[in-house]
């Protein structure tokens, strides 16, 4: 951690994030208002109007929270079905030069649930499973829509907070269409071309066969004439190079905090993330919209300091995560160092040379703070404490900047809880920005907090004691338990990163993992969104009460500290026992040189 280069990169990252937060936040104010004006109006407005006309949508008709939720569920259901059927029958569809077969029902279900919920957990290896058509249509469509839907829900909640004695919280269709057309698509075109300049591919060619510089021999298993398995020598003198429309998918994968990679190794693959520069801008694009949404919040509730207070709490938690993860990875693994690995190099297992220790630790923290889930290094091979950071980040409920939209609405739940706790401490009815927080509101908040926690822990417990659960593991000892805990934390948090040694597709075709993870993702997404929209509805209907001397200020350092405390307290109380059985005990075992 005494490398000045790393500190400079960290400072540049923070500086760039600060720089884009306000302008992008102001832009969000315009596009999340159905009448908002933007520079793109002359080109995009006609397309937007045409879309509404073809779909029979009236963008001016505001919806109640029930109406909003209903439209959202209908749209998500249709999208999930659309993806499921494309994946099942990709062998009958065009753009499949490698002739890849259709997916099994449970893998198609898992993948459809994964992309619909903005999780983008990958049960499959992209380059050997998905046709170009599946990548480009079945998966990419959700990269856009799940991001737009999330931002829409956040906007609906903010409207609920900023309105009073109102019955409606916006129009689902207008939010989804406008976010997609005005925000995501234009940025992606530019971003994708930048990524191509760094070396990400964008073509429709079949895979290329290269004649490698030095042929070599490997041993492969064969069945001989009498039916016995034998090892035979095989000369390898070619390398098959993956091709396809990658850049267009990677741009939205990052900007929409989706994280589902084109290839198995995700952003560690030199095609998906060729240079440190592409790495920097990919990390920046993950945090861009979640950070800007806090500015949008401040602007909409006419209290910019509140917006910055929420940002400040997220930022503090982010910085602490980076420092812990970085320190652990830079210190490396004492077991390997005893074998002769240079101590100064840190833990390089599963990391790429071009990124090194710092950029791998920073990426891991960013991708799990936000519910992105792209990885540029294999989290499974991180040191115990280095891997604890991504795990805990997800278990806070993905609120440290968080996913696009989902980060803000998740954090606002903690804001309401913090206000409630502050109210209890001073013995007053809690108020949030001029609204009384009452029993019904707190029931919704507790539902949003407890349901994901119970789902993560419940599924983890079930998998840990089941044969199907243990069958998927790649590691033994406490690390195996961490793989299970990480999988369900990632699925419920709609993150999608993994301790990727875990396989959900065992050789015997047991569908348990795919189905359990698919259900966890759906619960983590939709059973969160429904109570949040209900909260938006009830807040919108409340009367505004003028602030008094006893009103708790939702700005300034006191509030930031209280908010951070609330997030940490809920996360720690819920998950500390499970974490103690996984990464924490593994840390001590590693220090004492134990192996499994």
């Amino acid at each position: 951690m005494n490398a000045p280069d790393a500190w400079i990169q960290f400072a540049l990252y923070i500086g760039a994030l600060l720089l884009i937060t306000k302008p992008l936040g102001l832009y969000l104010v315009r596009i999340l208002d159905a009448d908002g004006k933007t520079w793109f109006d002359p080109v995009v407005r006609p397309v937007e109007q045409l879309t509404y006309r073809l779909c029979g949508i009236d963008p001016k008709r505001e919806q109640s929270w029930v109406g909003y939720a209903f439209s959202l569920l209908a749209f998500s259901l249709v999208g999930m079905g659309f993806t499921y059927f494309i994946l099942r029958y990709q062998d009958c569809l065009p753009l499949n030069p490698q002739g890849l077969p259709g997916l099994s029902p449970h893998l198609a279900f898992n993948t459809a649930a994964s992309f619909t919920t903005n999780t983008n957990w990958q049960s499959y290896a992209g380059e050997s499973t998905m046709s170009y058509f599946s990548q480009m249509v079945a998966l990419t469509i959700h990269n856009f829509t799940s991001a737009a839907v999330g931002i829409g829900v956040a906007a609906a909640l903010v409207r609920g907070i900023s309105r009073h004695t109102a019955k409606t919280i916006g129009n689902f269709w207008a939010d989804t269409v406008r976010v997609t057309y005005y925000l995501l698509a234009p940025i992606c075109v530019v971003f994708a071309l930048f990524l191509v300049s760094q070396g990400i591919i964008q073509n429709f060619k079949p895979y290329t066969t290269a004649k490698t510089l030095e042929p070599y021999t490997i041993q492969v298993a064969r069945i001989d004439d009498v039916g016995k398995p034998v090892m035979v020598d095989q000369v390898v003198d070619t390398q098959t190079i993956v091709q396809g429309p990658m850049a267009s998918q990677i741009a939205i994968k990052m900007l929409g905090t989706n994280g589902g990679g084109y290839v198995n190794a995700n952003a560690a693959h030199p095609f998906e993330n060729p240079t440190p520069l592409s790495n920097f801008f990919q990390m920046l694009s993950i945090f861009a919209i979640p950070s800007a949404l806090t500015y949008y919040l401040g602007r909409m509730v006419k209290n910019q300091r509140h917006g910055w207070a929420v940002w400040g709490a997220m930022f503090t938690l982010f910085v602490v995560g980076v420092l812990v993860c970085w320190k652990a990875e830079a210190a490396g693994n004492p077991i390997h160092q005893q074998l002769g690995v240079a101590v100064t190099d840190g833990n390089m297992e599963g990391k790429e040379v071009r990124f090194g220790i710092f950029n791998s630790a920073l990426f891991a923290t960013v991708t799990t703070d936000a519910s992105c889930g792209a990885v540029n290094a294999m989290h499974d091979s991180f040191t115990p404490l280095g891997g604890l950071v991504p795990l805990f980040n997800m278990e806070t409920g993905e609120v440290i900047f968080g996913g696009v939209g989902s980060g803000l609405y998740g954090m606002l739940i903690f804001v309401v809880l913090a206000v409630f706790i502050a109210g209890l401490m001073v013995g007053r009815t809690p108020e949030y920005l001029g609204k009384k927080i009452e029993t019904y509101d707190m029931k919704l908040v507790m539902l949003v907090l407890m349901l994901p926690a119970a789902t993560i822990l419940g599924f983890t417990a079930w998998a840990s004691i089941s044969t199907w659960g243990q069958a998927g593991l790649n590691n033994a000892g406490p690390h195996g338990f961490s793989e299970i805990l990480y999988a369900f934390s990632s699925a419920v948090g709609n993150n999608g990163s993994a301790f990727a040694g875990l396989t959900a597709n065992p050789a015997d075709g047991n569908p348990h993992w795919n189905i359990a993870l698919g259900l966890a993702m759906l619960i983590g997404r939709f059973l969160m969104i429904i109570p949040i929209l209900a909260l938006a509805g009830t807040l919108a209907g409340k009367k505004l009460i003028p602030p008094s001397a006893g009103t708790f200020q939702t700005e300034g350092v006191t509030f930031v500290v209280l908010l951070i405390g609330t997030v940490l307290l809920v996360g720690a109380l819920t998950f500390l026992p499970a974490l103690a059985l996984g990464p924490i005990i593994e840390h001590f075992l590693m220090s004492s040189g134990s192996l499994f």
């Binding site: 749209f75 964008q202 073509n203 030095e214 240079t275 077991i335 990391k351």
Partner: protein
């Protein structure tokens, strides 16, 4: 019931419109732009010989075993360096398997490069990358391999070190990432200088 029907109808239509615009027009616009302005990158940064033979991609590691070539990092992609099966080992810090493989790799590396038993080995030389296709090695790793390659090719050590320097990428914009040596480009340059027999 009527509302449900209308919502589903809007959903289906919007999904289809999005599919045309975001899954058709958008990738095609990027494809056209990329193929027009940046064809080399858009097609995989391939190394092509004069007769059209593709020798690999400058972004993807290949396997090198003999002394006359600089060796890439060990690979966990498929059976090794399989560019259709990118992967790391995903073995954790207390894995016996990982510890055994690093132990063996350290011994092999020291022997191949004629290093004493207490020389610290660069971490990238004995660990497997996240993708299994990491095209780079660290400068320290390249320097330790240089004498072996120079002897095998009958070249002056200074000449080999100079070529390492040419194949080294500095930090992007002088700040981002780490300095690194591209193994494939370095080996291609060596072959051009003194063709492999």
């Amino acid at each position: 019931m009527k509302t449900l029907w209308l919502e589903l109808k809007s959903s289906v239509l919007l999904t289809l419109i999005f599919a045309v615009l975001l899954c058709g027009a958008y990738p095609l616009v990027v494809w056209a732009g990329a193929q027009f302005i940046l064809p080399a990158q858009a097609n995989g940064s391939l190394l092509v010989e004069k007769d059209g033979t593709v020798r690999g991609s400058r972004l993807l590691a290949q396997n090198f075993t003999s002394d006359k070539y600089f060796q890439s990092r060990p690979s966990a992609a498929g059976s090794g360096y399989d560019a259709t099966a990118s992967s790391g080992t995903n073995l954790g810090p207390t894995s016996q398997k990982l510890s055994d493989s690093i132990n063996a790799a350290v011994a092999v590396y020291r022997q191949a490069n004629n290093l004493s038993a207490d020389t610290p080995v660069p971490a990238d030389a004995v660990t497997r990358s996240g993708s299994g296709l990491d095209p780079h090695i660290s400068e320290a790793n390249a320097q330790l391999q240089a004498p072996r390659v120079a002897t095998a090719r009958n070249l002056a050590l200074a000449k080999v070190k100079e070529m390492i320097k040419t194949a080294t990428d500095e930090r992007d914009w002088k700040v981002f990432g780490e300095p690194r040596v591209n193994v494939l480009l370095l080996n291609v340059a060596l072959d051009e200088l003194s063709p492999a027999k």
